[in-house]
């Protein structure tokens, strides 16, 4: 906390009061701009608007409110006449259910029709849309945005202006805004909790951090993508401080905190083992297959060449994906275990979540947001690569966004983000070989004469051009009749190639030396 205050109140200004005030007004302007952009996006359509009988994620969330409000807790996860699990059955952990229950109570006060059992199915009205959008914003303002503000003020390097710049860029990352406020989901809650976890670990509050992360896990099971780095970082730290002394004490405290948080979240379901096992079965639907739709991961991309799903049995698909995920996530985790610094922790978060996204079972295109969060945290240190990845991640969700009618917000926010990062973080100026840390490849592949930095930059320009071109093509042209999925496949393949490249790059970073303070000073 002392560091926090030091950051906020120590300014080299001839008029100190103005300096502090300026930082705070810049922060509040950034937050207000972030909120305004979020609300601007929320005026647009949502997933499944006016598309009976199944509608989309918006209806799923409303349906969960209906179910949790009207049924006793014991029936939430079970199929019954009042709870048809085939119609958007609850398949997230208990914290999501509690959140729906809370929202449902507020909805009931405003308009009981919104959560009426059975009758409210597919309910849509402008007032209801306003209510649902507001619930997202409230969650965002309470959980995600404060975490971003604190992270940027306390845990990023550089002048206060640089901190505010990265704050603004992180708040305006298009992917999260488009999914939460356009498509409709509550990713800000789970990602917000995870971010609180990262923040707390960065500030050295390990117990608080592990509790926050446990909450994230209990809100959305996909947070498992981040679990390995959290585990390895804390374990590595315990080992480093001595497993026989203070380390052991820390380990016990962290373990207790995690167990208690889990127990509290699962309390109502623990009385009956069948309850708990049913929740677990709902949360991990193994039967749904290796992948759905077009997602920019290894299996879907491989599928365009080899039809894996028809060659392998469901079980072997599961084992194969499990093995590959573990293999891909292992190097960074082992490195983190031996060197548990905050820098390596952030990198490992990227590497682990990207490994999960690329190779694990049943991945959704929206899961890329789990990778985007740690990349956002690295945006200040690695603006060029961060920008590249974040643009690619938004682009990878293009087919989904087009289906939801979010073309204009997609185009506007992506362009604005590109502009912001280039101007505020000077993403393109930080492109020397040293800063990009591409020198390693020279040693690896014996490439003495190439201008690697220039090469990388050109690759970036080309990929931005390809992404822009594909975006335009997907909108304006019709695919040939025998290839109806041409554009979604092209989009996911393009995104996959970039993700793979970035995965390799971040793994290389994990194993190279951290940014030296000297080179940082030069760039500042």
């Amino acid at each position: 906390m002392s560091r926090f205050f030091a950051v906020c109140f120590c300014h080299k200004s001839s008029f100190p009061a103005v300096g502090v005030m300026q930082t705070w007004s810049l922060v509040s302007i950034s937050v207000l701009l972030g909120v305004a952009v979020r609300w601007g996006v929320s005026l647009n359509s949502y997933s499944g608007a006016g598309e009976p009988p199944m509608f989309g994620d918006y209806e799923a969330q409303r349906h969960w409110q209906e179910v949790t409000y009207n049924l006793p807790l014991q029936e939430w996860y079970f199929n019954s006449t009042d709870n048809d699990l085939n119609y958007w059955g609850l398949d997230y952990p208990p914290l999501t259910a509690y959140h729906s229950w809370l929202c449902a109570h507020i909805a009931k006060i405003i308009n009981p029709e919104w959560v009426e059992l059975h009758k409210s199915r597919g309910y849509e009205s402008p007032e209801h849309k306003l209510f649902m959008r507001t619930t997202v914003l409230v969650a965002d303002v309470l959980i995600y945005i404060p975490a971003v503000v604190l992270y940027c003020l306390c845990l990023t390097d550089g002048s206060s202006k640089k901190k505010v710049s990265s704050l603004l860029c992180i708040l305006l990352y298009p992917g999260l805004i488009l999914i939460d406020y356009g498509h409709f989901q509550y990713n800000c809650v789970s990602l917000g909790f995870a971010l609180w976890g990262v923040l707390a670990l960065g500030l050295g509050w390990d117990v608080f951090g592990s509790m926050a992360f446990s909450l994230a896990l209990n809100y959305k099971q996909m947070e498992l993508y981040h679990a390995l780095p959290f585990f390895c970082y804390l374990l590595g730290k315990c080992v480093k401080t001595g497993l026989m002394g203070r380390g052991l004490f820390l380990l016990v405290r962290v373990a207790t905190a995690v167990l208690v948080t889990f127990a509290l979240c699962w309390w109502p379901f623990l009385s009956d083992p069948s309850q708990a096992s049913q929740v677990v079965r709902r949360i991990f639907p193994v039967a749904r297959g290796l992948f759905e739709d077009k997602v920019a991961n290894a299996w879907c991309s491989l599928n365009t060449l080899i039809k894996i799903r028809s060659i392998l049995s469901a079980d072997s698909q599961l084992y194969l994906s499990f093995a590959f995920t573990l293999l891909a996530a292992l190097p960074s985790s082992v490195k983190l275990l031996t060197q548990p610094t905050f820098w390596h922790f952030k990198l490992a978060l990227v590497n682990s979540s990207l490994a999960f996204f690329l190779f694990s079972y049943q991945v959704h295109e929206k899961s890329i947001l789990l990778v985007s969060l740690p990349v956002c945290l690295l945006l200040n240190d690695l603006p060029f690569m961060g920008l590249w990845f974040l643009q690619a991640s938004t682009f990878s969700m293009l087919p989904l966004l087009l289906k939801d009618g979010l073309l204009i917000p997609y185009a506007v926010t992506s362009l604005a983000f590109l502009l912001l990062c280039i101007y505020l973080l000077s993403a393109l100026d930080h492109g020397s070989e040293d800063e990009l840390r591409v020198g390693v490849y020279r040693k690896l592949f014996c490439l003495p004469k190439l201008d690697l930095a220039g090469w990388v930059k050109w690759k970036f320009y080309i990929s931005v051009a390809v992404m822009a071109g594909l975006s335009v093509l997907s909108v304006v042209s019709n695919p040939p009749p025998h290839l109806p999925d041409l554009f979604p496949v092209l989009v996911s393949a393009t995104a996959f190639l970039q993700f793979l490249g970035i995965f390799i790059h971040f793994n290389v970073l994990q194993f190279s030396k951290p940014i030296s303070k000297k080179s940082q000073k030069k760039t500042n």
Binding site: S25, L32, A36, W39, G40, N44, I408, P409, L419
Partner: protein, 519 residues
């Protein structure tokens, strides 16, 4: 300057950023002005010129000057590639997705004129020192104050109008005058007058300034007028520019014998003293005083309630209404008041012209004077004062204080324009953003506090008014009984601030005159 040339790199991201931000609100609420402009697109596209000012199938008849009609005509040439049905006159209240897209984008794109004008204005302000900190550069602060102006944003991009385009002409013409390119400035302003006649408010400032500072080439040593330096050639050139623009614009209608018809459309005096929602000016205070007196009279039994004319002054489409106690105001009274309020300012630049800045101050006083005393003033007209005042605010400490007062109250008075619940958050966020920025940046720029404690208390009172009007009253049972109470409270409270700013602005004119004399 050569070294500073490279440091303009912030302008493009700022302008591009705001343009992109505007595009986010394509699907937000839009007012009937949207249909008004769609109807004008249809009229100008599908009817011959002779029918433009006669067409009355829609209640939203064409009531802007001819050049704006031609502007709509040129937009309609693009519109036909979006949706041909929007150009049918009989398609009243037509609002397809592509119509919305086209009309919103047309506002964003025509705002390029505004962006260019802002760039020109920023070049005119004095850069005191070559400082590296962007926050202490007046040009940067001015660019943000103009490009991200709250009022312009909600009026144009949510409520729907083309003010950005029009104010672009105004600012460009001001910038030309500041750069001493008087003829270009005059041309731009004449074009502007033929685009929207509300800019007649500031025409006196232009008339006096051009006559005095352009047609007379020299001053006496004490700054007073030297009659012998009058240049008839300059007057002739100026006059020919003005008349040729007016001929181009109104000529065809004069030839067709439609001038009276056009003029009745442009100046509809059948409307009431105040708009449905009272603009925060003197008449709002006058109305409320009348209400209070009537109420007092009835309760003290000096007046009979039955004798009072029943008038709900803020209700619905306001036509003429009677005041209960105070004398009713006729258009001629407002005209006289307006002229009287403008006169000292105009006289001041006639006797002691103080270059482009003096002209700008006079322009502001004209705009604000007409706003304070004019007939049927719209609350949106406050932008006519706020935008040019931004230029003075970054150069002068005194003006910065007035700007903070006027912009905050004036912008707050625009809140009732957006009354839909979905837009509540947007207007609050944007207003806070703009206000926080202007307070911080101007304070940093002038490195001093700019408002006295009483003014700060008044502005904080706006927060209370905001909470009461936007949250408390809508949720309380009063909403049913007194639906217009929030509007009334807002306009009366804001009119105090606007009147005060008007007086302070006049005070600054007089004090600068005194300073000038001492020199």
């Amino acid at each position: 300057m050569a070294a500073a040339a490279g440091t303009w790199s912030w302008f493009v991201p700022l302008a591009a950023g705001v343009s992109l931000f505007k595009c986010l609100f394509i699907n937000s609420y839009h007012s009937t002005d949207f249909e008004v402009h769609r109807n004008w697109l249809a009229i100008t596209h599908s009817l011959p010129v002779s029918r433009w000012y006669h067409e009355n199938r829609s209640e939203w008849t064409l009531d802007y000057p001819p050049l704006f009609a031609w502007f709509q005509f040129s937009l309609s040439q693009v519109a036909q590639h979006f949706d041909r049905n929007l150009l049918q006159v009989q398609n009243l209240n037509y609002c397809s997705r592509s119509t919305v897209l086209f009309q919103r984008l047309s506002v964003v794109f025509t705002d390029l004129v505004f962006i260019y004008a802002v760039r020109q204005c920023c070049r005119c302000v004095e850069e005191q020192r070559s400082c590296r900190d962007i926050w202490t550069r007046p040009s940067f602060v001015l660019a943000v104050l103009l490009l991200w102006n709250f009022g312009l944003f909600i009026v144009d991009h949510i409520h729907f109008q083309y003010n950005g385009f029009l104010f672009g002409f105004l600012l460009l013409s001001v910038a030309k005058h500041l750069q001493s390119c008087h003829l270009q400035g005059a041309l731009l302003f004449t074009v502007l007058l033929n685009l929207k006649h509300i800019f007649l408010y500031v025409a006196p400032a232009y008339g006096v300034y051009l006559l005095r500072s352009y047609c007379f080439t020299q001053d006496n040593t004490d700054g007073s007028i030297r009659w012998r330096s009058f240049s008839p050639v300059r007057l002739l050139v100026l006059g020919s520019i003005v008349t040729s623009v007016f001929t181009l614009s109104f000529g065809p209608f004069v030839v067709m014998g439609q001038l009276p018809q056009v003029l009745t459309r442009l100046f509809p005096f059948k409307r009431g003293l105040c708009h449905a929602y009272w603009a925060p000016n003197i008449w709002a205070l006058y109305n409320i005083l009348d209400k209070v007196l009537a109420h007092l009279g009835v309760s003290l039994q000096l007046l009979q309630e039955a004798e009072l004319p029943a008038a709900s002054m803020t209700g619905g489409l306001v036509q003429e209404f009677q005041h209960s106690v105070l004398p009713s105001i006729s258009p001629s009274v407002t005209l006289v008041c307006t002229l009287l309020s403008i006169l000292p300012a105009a006289a001041s630049i006639w006797w002691r012209p103080r270059g482009g800045r003096g002209f700008l101050r006079c322009l502001l006083l004209c705009a604000l004077g007409s706003f304070m005393f004019g007939w049927h003033v719209h609350e949106k007209a406050i932008l006519l004062a706020i935008l040019p005042l931004s230029i003075l605010a970054v150069e002068n400490r005194e003006d910065a204080g007035i700007f903070l007062l006027l912009s905050t109250t004036g912008h707050y008075s625009l809140f009732p324009l957006l009354f839909t619940p979905a837009e509540l958050l947007i207007k609050v966020c944007l207003m806070l953003m703009f206000t926080i920025f202007s307070f911080t940046a101007l304070r940093k720029l002038h490195s001093a506090s700019l408002l006295c404690p009483l003014e700060v208390v008044y502005l904080l009172g706006l927060l209370v008014v905001g909470v009461v009007c936007e949250v408390v009253i809508p949720l309380s049972p009063w909403k049913q009984r007194l639906p217009f109470l929030p509007l009334l409270v807002t306009s009366v409270y804001c009119s105090l601030g606007v009147s005060y700013s008007f007086l302070r602005l006049y005070g600054s004119l007089l004090s600068s005159q005194r300073k000038h004399k001492q020199l």
